[in-house]
Amino acid sequence: MEVFQNMVTGFGIAATPMNLVLCLAGCFVGTLIGVLPGIGPAATIALLLPVTFNLPPATAIIMLSGIFYGAMYGGSTTAILVNIPGEAAAAITCIDGYQMARRGRAGPALGIAAFGSFIAGTFGVFLLMLIAPPVAEAALKFGPPEIFSVMVLGLTILSYLSSGSLLKAFIIALVGLFVGMVGIDIAGIYRFTFGIPDFFDGIGLVPVLMGLFGVAEVLLNLEQIVTRQVFESKIKGLLPNREDWKLSALPILRGTFIGFLLGVIPGPSNTISSFVSYAMEKRLSKSPDRFGKGAIEGVAGPESANNSACAGNFIPVLTLGIPTSAVMAVIVGAFIIHGVTPGPLLIKNNPDIFWGTIASMYIGNVMLLILNLPLIGIWVRVLKVPYGILFPLILLFCFVGAYANNNSLAELNVMIFFGLVGYLMKKTGFEPAPLVMAYILCPFLEEAFRQSLIKSHGDFSIFVTRPISATILALALAIIFLNVFSGMKEKRKNLLQKLKEED
C-alpha cells in the first residue's frame, strides 16, 4: 500500500498547474515531431534541453517525457496516412494502417491506434509502478547469450510478416541482413563501407525507412496520372465502430504485455515488440489473409505494443540509470544536467522526481488521447487534398526528415536509393517488412553471437547452459516446429482434398 501512498505524492507533484501545462506542451511538441518524419524524439529532446534549464528538475523531466510519448503517438499517424513510419516502431503499422486509409478507413485506424496506445500506455505505467525494481534486476540478467536468443526468436516470426511468397520473404530478409552488416563490426573492422565515412556506423535507419516506405510509395502512385484519387474519397466513419472494437480488444491486451516485457530488454525493443505483436495477431487470427489488406488487428496490436514498450523503456532508466536506446540516453542526460542522477539511488534521494515522473506518465497518456482524437478529423481531411499537391509535400517531409536525422547529405542519397529499391521490390513481389526486421535485428544478432563466443572462449554451450537463454531458444524452436507442422497439415489437407475431387 506504500505504493499508493507514493502515487498520491506523485500526483500531487505532477498535477501542479505548471507541470500540467508543460506536460501538455511536451505532448504537443512530441506529437508534432512524431508526425514530421525523421525529426526524432532524441534530437528534439536534446534540442529543447536548454529551454528547461531554468525549470525545476521534476518539471523538466515531465515535459521531456511528454515529448517522448507524443512522438510515439505521432509516428503512427504518418504511418497510417501516408505510409511513412514516424519511427521504426511504427513501420509495421504501415502495412495494414495505410491500407485502411486507402479504403477510406483512416479514421478508425487512427482511432484504434490512439485508443490502443492509451490503454497500453496506461497499463504499462501501472505495471511500471508496481514491479519496476524486480523487472529491472531481471533485465540485467540478459547478457549477450540471452540477447542472441531473443534475436533468434525475432527471426522465427519473420514468416508471419509477409502475406506473399515465403521464399521471397526469406530472400528479402537476407538482403536486409546485408544492409544491416554495413559498417563497423565489434572487432573494429569497417565492412562494406567502400571508404564512405557516413556508412561507418551503418546505413541509417531513418533514410532507409523514408525511402523504402515513403518515397517508394509516392513513386508508385506517380505512375498513374495524378488526377486520380489515391485515397478513396468516401470517408467511412471517423472512429472505430463496434465491429472494430470486437476485433481489436484482444490484440490490444496481448500487445500491452508483449510490449512491456520486451521494452525492458536493451536494444530495438519497441520495434521488435510491434513486429512480434503483428505476427502473433496474424497467427492467432481466424482469417489471416485479411492481414496486409487493412485488418484493424494489424494496427491495434502493434500500436499497443510499442506504447507499453515505452513504459518498459523507462524501467532501466529510472531504477538503474541505464538507457536502452538513443532517446533514453538523452533523457538520462537530461536528468544529469539537472543535477539528478538516475539510478539505484533515484528512488531514495529524489522520490518526488521518481513518483512525479510516473504520475505524469498517466497524465500524459490522457492528454495525448484527448489531443489526438479531435485531430483525427483534421488528418482525415488532409487526405482529401488533391494528391498533386500532397505528394510534393510528402517528398519534402521525407527530405527534411532524412537530412535532419544526422545532418547528413549522404543519407539523402541513401533515401533516394532505397526509394528505388522499394519501388522495384513492389514490382517484383517483395515486401518491405521482412527486410526492415532483418536489418534491425542483424547487428544485435551478430554482435551478441560473437560477444558470447568471446566470453565463452568459443564454447557453444553457453547458449544452452544459461537458463534464460535456453528457455528462449526452446521457445523459438517450438515456433519453428509449429510452423512446419501446420504447414505440413495444410499440405496434407490440400492433398486429400485434391484426391477427393479426382474421385
Partner: protein, 153 residues
C-alpha cells in the same frame, strides 16, 4: 515469369558479390567468428535461395500477382518515374549549392509542373509558398540546421 528470372539472377549476383567481398575480411573460425563470417554465411544462403527462385521461374511455377502484372501500368509511366527520380536527385544536389529554401522552391516547382500537371503560374505560387513556409517552419521555428549554400546565407 520472365521477371522472376531476372530478379533471381540479379539477387544471385548480389549474393556472389557479397560472398567475394566477405572473403577479404578476417573470417576467423566457427568458434571465434571474425568480421567476414556472418556475411559469408548470409551470402551463401542467399545464393541458394536466389538460385531456387530462378530455377522455379524457369520451370514456369506460378508466383505472386505483383510480378505478373505489367511493369508499367500506363504508357506515360516510365517517363513520369524518370522525371520523379530526376527531381529527387536534382533537389539533393542543389541543396548544398543554393541552400534549403531556394532548392525547395525549385523542387516543388519542378514536381508540380511536370508531374502534378499544374500550370506554370500555379506551380510557381505553390513553390514560393512552400519554400517560404518550410524556411520558417524548419529553420527559424524548429531551428533545424539545414544545408547552407555555397555562398553563405
Amino acid at each position: 515469369m520472365k521477371r522472376d528470372q531476372i530478379t533471381g539472377i540479379f539477387l544471385f549476383g548480389l549474393a556472389l558479390a557479397v560472398f567475394l567481398k566477405s572473403l577479404t575480411y578476417p573470417l576467423g573460425t566457427l568458434r571465434k567468428p571474425g568480421g567476414g563470417f556472418f556475411p559469408l554465411i548470409a551470402s551463401i544462403l542467399l545464393m541458394g535461395l536466389a538460385a531456387l527462385l530462378t530455377i522455379q521461374a524457369f520451370r514456369g511455377k506460378e508466383t505472386d500477382k505483383a510480378s505478373q502484372a505489367p511493369f508499367f501500368p500506363e504508357k506515360e509511366a516510365p517517363r513520369r518515374i524518370l522525371l520523379g527520380f530526376a527531381g529527387l536527385l536534382g533537389y539533393r544536389y542543389l541543396l548544398p549549392v543554393i541552400g534549403f529554401a531556394p532548392s525547395t522552391g525549385v523542387f516543388i516547382l519542378f514536381l508540380s509542373r511536370f508531374l502534378g500537371k499544374y500550370g506554370w503560374v500555379m506551380s510557381a505560387v505553390f513553390a514560393v509558398i512552400t519554400a517560404v513556409a518550410s524556411y520558417y517552419l524548419f529553420e527559424v521555428w524548429l531551428k533545424i540546421p539545414m544545408p547552407r549554400p555555397y555562398f553563405g546565407m
